[in-house]
Symmetry: C2
């Protein structure tokens, strides 16, 4: 390792070898080959496409390893010390060390000059009698590659015909599609009211219809009393509902893996995510946090939020690397752009919901329009719905949601950019968006939504 004579090189240590962690490690090494970079990862997989897991599960012919973007050895060849099978359990901020145990039970300790906590998030497992993982066969979560392998193997080995998904969020929806691809019946159950409660009701109704048209049984607002072994498989006892199943996927959401940070006395914020500033620095100037374990500023409200998403994790990882290497980078906020596919629908959102806008002190006004994905008389068009939210007082655009058969996923980005630019709805309504008959009406659905919302604002 090249380093300047007589000058101590820097030790950059990363806890967590997924999106944020490996992005940071790799970029830091590229930025400054003289820095010693060490990654501590509890599993044996680094740098894989976690978001791709449902699509991999959908296809029995593809190995889970397809999702590995870069093997640990490739990082090692780059000069990064990748310690897989190493569980970090403690940060000593005075001694500046991270210690823990290997999967074989051996203790380890690593010194740092700069530390990045990129421990990600963990699936929440609700407290339901009989649901205690990993004790019960056939009850699984989907977080890391090992979880993915477990689900895939179980589907194959247990000849799964019926499944229950607990939860109705993004991952639940993507898993629903994957399991339907495998010709397995899906029941979705959640105690909270409403499918996708953040969604405008007209739009979530479209999603509901799509799920039901694919014979997915939906049980929203049903408290789950217990899970018990059945004659074959498992039985889910809900209030007024009994569902026999071969497999249960728990997908009720995730929580930040901030325990190690909290124990080290670092400040936390929303949902106990690790509090960071624009430079991704925690309350300890030698420690950064990035990815699903860390919070962020919302570019629309300026307030702290915890919205764990992959792009942010990668971007924050890069920014940490630059900051560690002495190229200060402050990230602007996020706007919470998210998209998922469920069966024949694209579902997208960015910015604030009406409820979020109210909570942030805006005076939200919103409207829903229905339009088409292709021009008048163009064959193959499907319907597309747009909800747009603005501030009544200033006319500022605050957020949008879309659902449609095609063209929702990429369209949302135009609104995301507008949110970063603090555009008004009027400004947005006058943007020069693309038009050709195969891709939309002359007035893009987003412009129609903006035009309609303008009328409400003008009132």
């Amino acid at each position: 390792m090249k380093q300047n004579e007589g000058e101590k090189t820097m030790d950059f240590v990363v806890i967590g070898g997924d999106a944020a962690g490996m992005s940071a490690a790799s970029r830091a090494k590229r930025n400054r080959p003289d820095i010693r970079v060490t990654v501590i990862e509890k599993t044996h997989d680094v740098s894989y496409s976690a978001c791709g897991m449902p699509y991999n599960i959908a296809d029995p012919s593809r190995p889970m390893e397809d999702l590995v973007v870069r093997e640990a050895d490739a990082f090692r060849k780059q000069g990064i010390a990748v310690l897989t099978g190493h569980q970090a359990t403690r940060i000593d901020r005075t001694a500046k060390t991270v210690s823990g145990r290997t999967s074989e039970g051996n203790p380890f300790s690593v010194s740092y000059d700069a530390l990045l906590i990129a421990t990600g998030a963990s699936p929440i497992v609700p407290d339901i009698p009989g649901l205690n993982l990993p004790g019960v066969t056939g009850v699984m979560v989907l977080k890391n590659l090992e979880d993915g392998r477990r689900i895939k193997n179980f589907i194959r080995d247990a000849d799964v015909k019926r499944s229950v998904i607990i939860g109705m969020g993004y991952i639940a929806m993507e898993m629903c599609e994957a399991i339907r691809e495998r010709h397995i019946h899906v029941s979705m159950i959640k105690p909270g009211p409403g499918l996708l409660p953040w969604m405008e009701p007209q739009l979530s109704e479209v999603v509901r219809q799509e799920l039901e048209s694919s014979e997915v049984a939906l049980y929203p607002g049903v408290r789950i009393l217990s899970v018990e072994p059945g004659e074959k498989g498992l039985v889910v006892h809900g209030e007024g509902v009994v569902i026999e199943t071969d497999m249960i996927i728990v997908a009720v959401g995730v929580q930040p893996n901030s325990g190690i940070a909290i124990e080290a006395g670092l400040e936390t914020s929303v949902r106990q995510s690790i509090s960071t500033d624009g430079f991704l620095k925690t309350s300890d100037p030698h420690i950064y946090a990035a990815g699903d374990c860390a919070d962020a500023f919302h570019a629309v409200t300026g307030e702290k939020v915890w919205i764990p998403l992959a792009l942010r994790a990668n971007r924050a990882g890069w920014a940490v690397a630059d900051n560690v290497c002495g190229k200060p980078v402050s990230l602007p906020g996020i706007v919470g752009t998210a998209v998922f596919k469920v069966l024949g629908l694209e579902v997208a959102r960015t910015g604030l919901t009406v409820q979020e806008a109210m909570a942030a002190g805006f005076h939200p006004v919103s409207g829903v329009i229905q339009s088409r994905s292709r021009a008048h008389a163009h064959p193959g068009a499907s319907r597309i719905w747009v909800q747009m939210v603005a501030d009544q007082k200033t006319g500022r655009l605050l957020g949008a949601q879309m659902v449609g058969g095609e063209g929702a996923a990429h369209r949302i980005n135009a609104v995301a950019v507008a949110l970063h630019s603090r555009m008004t709805v009027e400004d947005f309504s006058r943007t020069d968006l693309a038009y050709a008959p195969p891709f939309g009406p002359v007035w893009d659905p987003l412009l129609t939504a903006a035009n309609q919302l303008l009328k409400k604002i003008a009132r």
Copy 2:
């Protein structure tokens, strides 16, 4: 017609009954039912989707009338006087009248208080011996519904097997796809060098390969000497090339129909388009111009441009209606967002090319990246290319071009919004764009392009 006692109502006259004209007429009547609105249209079709014509031609089972968005009678029922078959030939700005002749040869004259010229554009027919339309059977242009009917009928009646398209622009490309759908061989020929000369060469090469993979014969940079009758059909004599064909489509571009405005002494600008201000007013305060006959300001350069596109025509029509009705509306500039589909490719652009940026006094720097339309390991991905242009001095984003199998058309809108907001490439590179495996990589191709371009700017 309802009007205030003793108060003269206003006469709003529109020349041209397509996108801009009918948008203006209809909105003016909705805004203020007391206004008398008259539309003068030389053909018998109003309010149809001109851009949809290639796709209609592609399908012999669909009548051309599918493209009519709203019949003339529907506008008449709304209280608008729609004079179809009326060719306006003269504007008397002193008497404030428009006069002309009907298709039966009868003279007419209409008085106006406010006039909108929305005469559109006409196909350019190059001066080639033997190409004089409409004298030669089998040589056609595509501008209005009647042209579309003529092409469609000719394909059916003349049993067309071979075609030549003169030109390689948007409409030429769309017609190429339409004609290939009809299993007719296509040769494309143009005297100017290069397929899509405004395109970055790597990107236009992708288009060239796509055309050739569909057995389209390309003759760029070939001067056409003459068109002559052949044994069956026609023979195109180019320099070093002889092409026998059953049909010739002339699609070398369009020019603004500004003759009537020029004769009336109104100012013109780029390519003799009618000069307008932000309120769509011409040099005569009682006369507006909108749509393909009028110019516009470019939001990136602030300079006058003539970019005839459908969304602008509709939007400008609305703005004229509002202005005529006493609700002043000034439109911001356009950014020249355009998109087309050709065979299996989506092609999109917005903002300035490197050449345009230089001409406007910027110091352009640009880069091309290749990425994928779906995430790592996600099945069904196709390649996607992005060129991005920025100003080296200020880092400002100036334009982008994209080509790809999917996901280029809607993605371009994010850049269009960024151009309206005068974002820098750095700002854009930090926007929170959507990610899910079916829709793109974690780093959207646009972000990858921005990240790469940033490195060049930083140099």
